[in-house]
Amino acid sequence: MDYAAHILILTAIYVSLAISLDLLAGRMGILSIAHAGFYGLGAYTAALLVIRCGAPFMIGVVAGMGVAALISLVVSLPSLRLHDDYFVIATFGFQMILFSIFTNWMDLTNGPMGIPGIPQPVILGWRVDTHLEFLMLAAIFATASCLVVWRITTSPLGRVLHAIREDEVFAKSLGKNTLRFKVTVFAVSAALAAMAGSLYAHYITYIDPTSFTVMESILVISMVIIGGAGSLWGPLVGAVVLVTLPEALRFVGLPSSVAANLRQIIYGSLLVVMMMFRPRGLVGNCGFSK
């Protein structure tokens, strides 16, 4: 039972990550490779605030989101003026910077040793200490992320994002300050990733830089692509598939050393096959590229 809850909790965390990346990549057409970095920023900010300052859980979450949104401006303001392809490279660089900060700023992050002993969340007296309770909390967070993305995409703001994805020049000609929209959405996306990160930190109770590598970004990108970019269900399905698939492999009875390598191969093949035969993703409706 705890095992099933564990898988569902991870799925819920990845739903938040995938849906927030899709807001940027699927809805607005701008890919970021720094998603794991913002996920990590949320995790570290929340963990440090709670452990060092004794801040309540929700303060840590909100602060993590705020820090990620603010730091996102450091990348987005200079580099979103560039062509989208260069922006991808800029986010890759930024991901590397964040990772090396997590690894090397010993005084703050404790480097590769990570931060242990992150307490379980307490929200207004509700101590979240069983798997089932945590699953409820994770579900609430995932629903909140989906709600934010859904609200944005079904509003006049979503109409502008769609226009930016399809034809930015057209949007500009109609008086839309497309840079401002891109910067805003990038910050929202980063904040939602950070929210997932703070939840992850409190769930696992230990964080170290290896959870926030570029491979993690690519995993989330794969979820969006495999599920289907630019739709509400796509990232959800992608998160479910890519979280449960490795667990399924475990039951096939392969030795873990083989399974780990096989998993990478399966992810890779899945991506190639999806791009060839179903670029819209499993349940998506518009595809990833412009």
Binding site: S173, L174, G175
Partner: protein
């Protein structure tokens, strides 16, 4: 400078070159505050470049341009658009998968629902959206596309797409409309409808500036013709005067 107190668009010595080719050379023009101005000239004369500079999509190498007293030379496209200068593109730019109406709604300026918090919390957005919907339908009706409002923009005929682009400019509250080839490649019946629309816009006190190769269309509606060649303005005046000049007949009317 103005004949009815409204600011006019004028450019002073605009120049632009691409890799040594002079696309615009010292272009000096003053547009009336209302009316229909046609810009003609052979391919490569700099007509579209001029439009791109005047709408901020290209930055001039030299010279300046103004709306009334306000200098626009270094403003980005969205700021120029917000001052009431709207444009269409030669290669039609529309969001083709979404309904016609959505394209026009997108064009509405200053939407509260485009800001993050109102979009999330939805205060006042429904009311604003209803108002914009009404306004969008008004312009779709104006160009005769009201019945197509819920069809995908990409399903429209070429001429209808040009009309949709025009409706977007109007919904964006463009008072000065810069249209790049509004009738080129359009079915003759549709051409007369588009030209009618342009006349109505003139009556509403707007300025329509359009680039066109179709000399018959230019003759029918233009108050003023500007002839460009090799990045320069080589002639301007009333259509019946300019289009009678032997060298221009030879080059463009054939």
């Amino acid at each position: 400078m103005t004949n009815d107190g409204r600011p006019t668009l004028r450019c002073e010595g605009l120049s632009k070159s691409f890799d040594g080719t002079h696309a615009l050379q010292n272009v000096r023009l003053e547009f009336p505050s209302a009316g229909i101005v046609a810009i003609i000239g052979p391919n490569g004369a700099g007509k579209t470049t001029l439009l791109n500079v005047l709408t901020g999509f290209l930055r001039a190498d030299g010279g300046r341009f103004f709306l009334g007293e306000r200098e626009l030379t270094r403003l980005p496209p969205h700021k120029i658009s917000r001052l009431g200068i709207a444009r269409t593109f030669q290669d039609l730019r529309l969001i083709s998968q979404v309904p016609v109406l959505e394209n026009v709604l997108l064009a509405r300026p200053n939407q509260k629902g485009e800001r993050l918090l109102p979009a999330l919390l939805r205060y006042g957005v429904a009311r604003e959206e209803a108002r914009n919907h009404e306004e969008a339908m008004r312009w779709l009706w104006f160009v005769g596309l009201d019945e197509k409002a819920h069809e995908a923009a990409g399903e429209l005929s070429y001429g209808q797409q040009k009309l949709l682009a025009l409706a977007c400019c109007l919904a964006a509250e463009g008072r000065i409309l810069l249209l790049d080839e509004p009738v080129a490649g359009v079915h003759p019946e549709m051409i007369s409808q588009i030209l009618d629309n342009l006349r109505q816009l003139r009556e509403q006190g707007r300025l329509v500036v359009f680039i066109e190769h179709d000399i018959a269309a230019v003759r029918q509606v233009a108050d003023t013709v500007v002839v460009m060649d090799e990045g320069r303005v080589i002639a301007q005046g009333k259509p019946n005067e300019v289009l009678e000049k032997p060298e221009i007949i030879e080059a463009y009317v054939g």
